[in-house]
Amino acid sequence: MSGLRLTLRGTPPGSVDCSPLAPDLLAGKSRKDIEAIELQCGNRRLRVGELFAVEGDDPNTVAFRGGSARLLRIGAGMKSGSVTVEGECGDYLGFGMRGGAISIAGDAGAFAGSGMRAGRIEIRGNAGDFLGAALPGDRQGMRGGAIVVHGSAGDRAGDRMRRGLILIKGNAGSYCGARVLAGTILVAGEAGYAPGYGLKRGTLLLERAPRELLPTFRDSGVHSLLFLALLEKEMLREGGPFTAFLPLAGRVRRFCGDLATGGAGEILVRV
C-alpha cells in the first residue's frame, strides 16, 4: 500500500474546503469513493476527482502535490494519520485538529492551528496572521498540541491560546501572544510590536529582547527556570523539527505581565 497522493490539476476556480480529506475521514474508502467526494469550492461543489488526480490507496497518509493558497482547512478536525502539502496552503490549516501530524513545505495562511487540541503542525515556510489564535468571537484559540514554524509568523500569533506549544524559528508579527490564557510561545527571531499584549497566563520565550515592551510588563530579573530544562528534554525526545530550537535551558530575563490583565503571565528573554 502506498499513501494517498492528491495532485492538483490546476489552480482551483475558488477557495476549496479540504476538510473532508482528513485521513481519518477517508479511512476505508476506495480511490473511486474518494474521487467522488464533493468539496465546497467557492459557491459551488466540485468532486475531488475534478480538482485532483488521485493516486495511492492508503488514506492514513495524505499528500497534496502542488499547493495553493486556495486550499483551505487542510487537516481540519483530523484525529489521526498524517497530511503533507508539497507547496503552500490557505487559511485554517489544521483547524480544530485532534491528533496526527501535518507538514507544509511552503507557507500557510491565516488561523493555522486555530482551535487545535492535539497533534503537530509543521510549517516549513511562513505562517499567516492569527497562528494558533481564536476565531473572532471564540473564547480560546489553540488548546493543545504543537505548531512549529520554520519561517516567520504574522500578527497576533497565539491570540487567546489556551494550551500547547508554538515554536517560531523566524520573526513574529505584532501582538505576538496577545491575550494568551496559557501555553508557551517561543520566537527564535524577533518579536514585533507589543508582544504579550493582554497576556493573562502563559509564557512567551524570546530569543531576542523586543525593541519595545509594553509598560505593563515589569522586570523580575535574571533566572534559571527549571521548566525550560524539562521542555528542552521533551523537545529532544520529540526530535524532528523541535531540535532546531535547542538548546532552550539557560538563564532568562523574566518580565511579568501583562499587569493590566492580572500579571500572571511572563515574557522570558534569553540572556
Partner: protein
C-alpha cells in the same frame, strides 16, 4: 537447608497488599536531593504508627531525571490509596517543597494521586501550570526561585511486610550481617527496607496483654526472655534483627529477600550468623507468602 553454616528455617514470611508509589526528587546536587529525600522518608518506618512506610530506593544520575539534575528515587507505601495520597501530599509539602533547589516528579505509571495538584496553592495565585509531553507540571514561586512539581504521581498495588530474621551469636554479629544484607538489597529496584538503616530490632507479634495495644514485642525471639516464654531461640543465639521489605511488586520483594538473605549467608557462620528465619501469622492474614527455602533455592 544450610548455606555457609547458616540454617535457613523451613518457614515463610507473610506480607500484605498495600498501595505504593515512586517519586523522583531532584536538586542542585545529590547532597540536597538526599536532604529532601531523607526528610520525606523520615518517620515512615511502619504503617502502624507513621501512616506510611517509605525509603530511598536509589540515587539517580542527571541522565535519569526529568530535569537533567541529580536526584533520588523514593518509594512510599500505605494501607490504602486514600492514606497514601494524604501521606504523599503532606510529606512532599513539608519536606520537598521546603528543601532548597528541589523539584519532584512522578516515578511511576499507575492510578494518579496528587503530587503537586494542591501544593500549587502555596503559590497564592502566582503559580503557573505547564503541560510538557502530556504531563502537567506546576511552577510555584518560592524564595530561591521556583519549586517545580508534577501534578500527579502513579499509584499501584504493592506488597508490604516481606521480612526475614537474622539470628546471630550477638548484637554486633547480627548487625554486621544485616548491614551486608541492606547493602545487597539496595541494588534491587522496586523495593525498600523502611526501618532505620533498613533494620528493625523490635519485631512484633499481634496483640498484647494491654488492651490498648494491637502489637507488642515478639517475645519468642527476645533472647532475654529465654526461659520465661515459649522461645524460638536456641541457647547460642544472642541477638535477633529483622529486615522488613516493601516492594512495588511480588517479584521485587522476592528479589530483595533473595539478595538480602544471600548476603547474610555470605557472612555465614564464621561471622556469627546462626539462622535465618521469618515472621508470619500462620499464613491466614497476608496474601503474599515468601517461603525462605524456596526463595534461596
Amino acid at each position: 537447608m544450610i548455606v555457609n553454616g547458616v540454617t535457613i528455617d523451613d518457614t515463610f514470611a507473610e506480607a500484605f497488599g498495600m498501595r505504593g508509589t515512586r517519586i523522583l526528587i531532584t536538586a542542585l546536587n545529590l547532597k540536597w536531593a538526599h536532604h529532601a529525600a531523607r526528610a520525606v522518608t523520615g518517620f515512615a518506618t511502619s504503617v502502624i504508627g507513621c501512616g506510611c512506610e517509605a525509603g530511598i530506593e536509589r540515587e539517580l544520575s542527571a541522565e535519569e531525571t526529568p530535569d537533567g539534575r541529580p536526584g533520588v528515587s523514593v518509594l512510599l507505601f500505605a494501607v490504602s490509596g486514600k492514606e497514601l495520597a494524604k501521606q504523599v501530599e503532606r510529606r512532599v509539602g513539608q519536606c520537598v517543597l521546603t528543601s532548597p533547589s528541589s523539584a519532584v516528579f512522578s516515578g511511576l505509571e499507575g492510578e494518579p494521586i496528587n503530587l503537586g495538584r494542591n501544593l500549587r496553592f502555596f503559590g497564592d495565585g502566582y503559580q503557573m501550570s505547564k503541560m510538557i509531553g502530556g504531563r502537567r507540571y506546576w511552577r510555584v514561586p518560592v524564595m530561591d526561585g521556583e519549586f517545580l512539581c508534577e501534578e500527579t504521581t502513579g499509584m499501584v498495588r504493592a506488597v508490604g511486610g516481606g521480612n526475614f530474621l537474622v539470628l546471630a551469636s550477638g548484637q554486633i554479629e547480627a548487625l554486621a550481617a544485616c548491614e551486608a544484607a541492606i547493602a545487597a538489597m539496595s541494588k534491587v529496584p522496586g523495593a525498600i527496607a523502611p526501618f532505620p538503616g533498613g533494620v528493625v530490632r523490635s519485631g512484633s507479634k499481634v496483640g498484647s496483654r494491654y488492651k490498648a495495644l494491637t502489637a507488642s514485642t515478639n517475645d519468642a525471639f527476645c533472647p532475654t526472655l529465654r526461659g520465661a516464654v515459649k522461645t524460638e531461640l536456641t541457647p547460642e543465639v544472642g541477638a535477633v534483627l529483622e529486615i522488613v521489605i516493601d516492594g512495588l511488586t511480588d517479584a521485587d520483594v522476592r528479589n530483595a529477600m533473595r539478595a538480602g538473605i544471600g548476603a547474610v549467608c555470605e557472612v555465614g557462620a564464621a561471622g556469627g550468623v546462626l539462622r535465618v528465619s521469618a515472621g508470619n501469622y500462620g499464613g491466614k492474614l497476608g496474601q503474599f507468602h515468601y517461603p525462605l527455602r524456596e526463595i534461596m533455592r
